[in-house]
């Protein structure tokens, strides 16, 4: 074993030691409640419409529509310097972004200019037909759903690389009528930030909780649903022309 690989191994052991923890005594929510009680953070009561599922999308869209009128740029900055997720609306489009660290400066113009477009060079991919095969060739610890709508079968798993690192793993499920459902797993080591611009008139946006994490469900006019969320180690996308309940159940079952 070379000196550098030895150092790497030992650094990995140190990381392993760091990551290996017993379960906390209290749940995350119990801990939060304790912190709230100790700090006196004022609870912000949720508006009642949040409980009315059917009105969520309408309310959020309405909020987007008027939000930019009330939200000053400095408020966005002050709030978002450690924010993972934020939404900005201008005119007929909404930008949904998740960031790590400092956010980009708020742009007046949401649509990208030529200078904002970056071309990714030489992206390689590798396609296999089973998770076992995929796991053999990627360094990412792959997760898969326990639940899948009955008629869907795994068609293929595609591993995309940036240089030698796995950028994302895309699993395609398909039935005999070629109806599809896609799951994308993107490792955190490749960066978790993303930004997406959607047309408010054609897209409903809903905020959900998946495996304890905040998630965004986009419902397009053509019936295609896209659910995004972020876990500690990965960014996830589940999408397809299935019902919200089915998409959510698939997402919740990923282990």
């Amino acid at each position: 074993m070379t000196h550098s690989s030895k150092d790497q191994t030992e650094e990995n052991w140190l990381r392993e030691y760091y990551d290996n923890v017993e379960e906390p005594i209290k749940t995350k929510e119990e801990t939060w409640s304790h912190i709230v009680s100790q700090t006196g953070i004022k609870k912000q009561s949720r508006p009642s419409w949040i409980k009315q599922k059917g009105l969520i999308a309408v309310a959020i869209l309405a909020l987007f529509a008027v939000g930019s009128l009330f939200m000053k740029e400095d408020q966005i900055q002050a709030f978002s310097w450690f924010t993972k997720y934020f939404v900005t609306t201008e005119g007929e489009v909404t930008q949904i972004s998740e960031i790590q660290g400092d956010p980009p400066a708020v742009k007046k113009q949401l649509l990208p200019t030529e200078a904002d477009i970056h071309v990714r060079n030489s992206t390689k991919s590798h396609e296999v037909s089973t998770f076992a095969e995929a796991q053999e060739i990627t360094e990412v610890d792959l997760s898969r759903p326990d639940y899948m709508p009955e008629d869907l079968q795994l068609e293929r798993v595609t591993i995309y690389y940036d240089q030698d690192k796995t950028r994302k793993v895309q699993s395609l499920y398909q039935n005999e009528q070629e109806r599809q459902l896609v799951i994308i797993q993107k490792p955190a080591s490749q960066g978790l930030g993303y930004s997406k611009i959607v047309d408010n008139q054609d897209t409903e946006i809903e905020t959900l909780t998946i495996q304890g994490e905040k998630a965004t469900l986009l419902t397009y006019k053509d019936g295609w649903l896209q659910l995004r969320w972020k876990s500690e180690l990965n960014q996830w996308v589940v999408e397809g022309s299935y019902s919200e309940e089915q998409i959510v159940e698939v997402a919740q079952s990923i282990r």
Binding site: K6, E10, F82
Partner: protein
């Protein structure tokens, strides 16, 4: 006075909740790394976030809030260790806990496996035996990759003290293992 009030403004619940969501796992690992005890870690976890809430206005470099939180976490965890009577027991406990993941590692040969397990076990044992302050230095330097300057700044101590702790921690970890020329680790310059 108004300026001072503004400067010390505390985050809203939504803002602080986001911070909590982002760093909960990291802070728990940090305090557990120091205490190796889930009860102490739980107490230190809670107090770390309480302290963070009350002192958020002090954060100057927003991009390093994780580093800032980790130093609060390690300081708080060390305080909890000190409060516990017979804290020296903590420093040598828990090796059986580590055994369970030794077998998870993939090895190319039996020889590698045996040597690797011994070395890893030695390393874990040595980390467990480190003084909390040395463990803190190892954590901040090698896991979170803070610079000496940052460690000194956030821990409110001299850079020379930080360097001394790192040197001593590394020397303890390297002792015995270093006798075998193949088995040197955590080398390099302290910068």
């Amino acid at each position: 006075m108004f300026k001072k009030f503004l400067k010390k403004a505390k985050p809203t619940e939504a803002e602080f909740r986001l911070l909590y969501e982002m760093f909960y796992s990291r802070v728990y690992r940090d305090v557990y790394f120091i205490t190796r005890d889930s009860h102490l870690a739980q107490d230190a976890l809670q107090e770390t976030f309480v302290k963070a809430y009350n002192n958020m206005y002090r954060v100057e470099d927003k991009e390093r809030i994780g580093a800032w939180l980790s130093t609060i976490a390690t300081r708080t965890a060390i305080d909890y260790l000190r409060r516990r009577k017979g804290s020296s027991e903590i420093l040598t406990e828990d090796m059986t806990h580590n055994d369970k993941y030794l077998s998870d590692y993939q090895w190319s040969s039996l020889e590698d496996m045996v040597e690797g397990n011994i070395m890893k076990e030695e390393l874990f044992q040595k980390i467990n035996q480190l003084k909390p302050e040395y463990r803190e230095a190892i954590l901040l330097k090698y896991i979170h990759e803070l610079s000496i300057n940052e460690m000194a700044q956030y821990l409110e101590m001299k850079e020379s003290t930080v360097k001394t702790r790192l040197h001593r921690a590394r020397n303890i970890l390297k002792k015995d293992i270093e006798k075998d020329p193949k088995r040197s680790w955590i080398g390099g310059e302290i910068s």
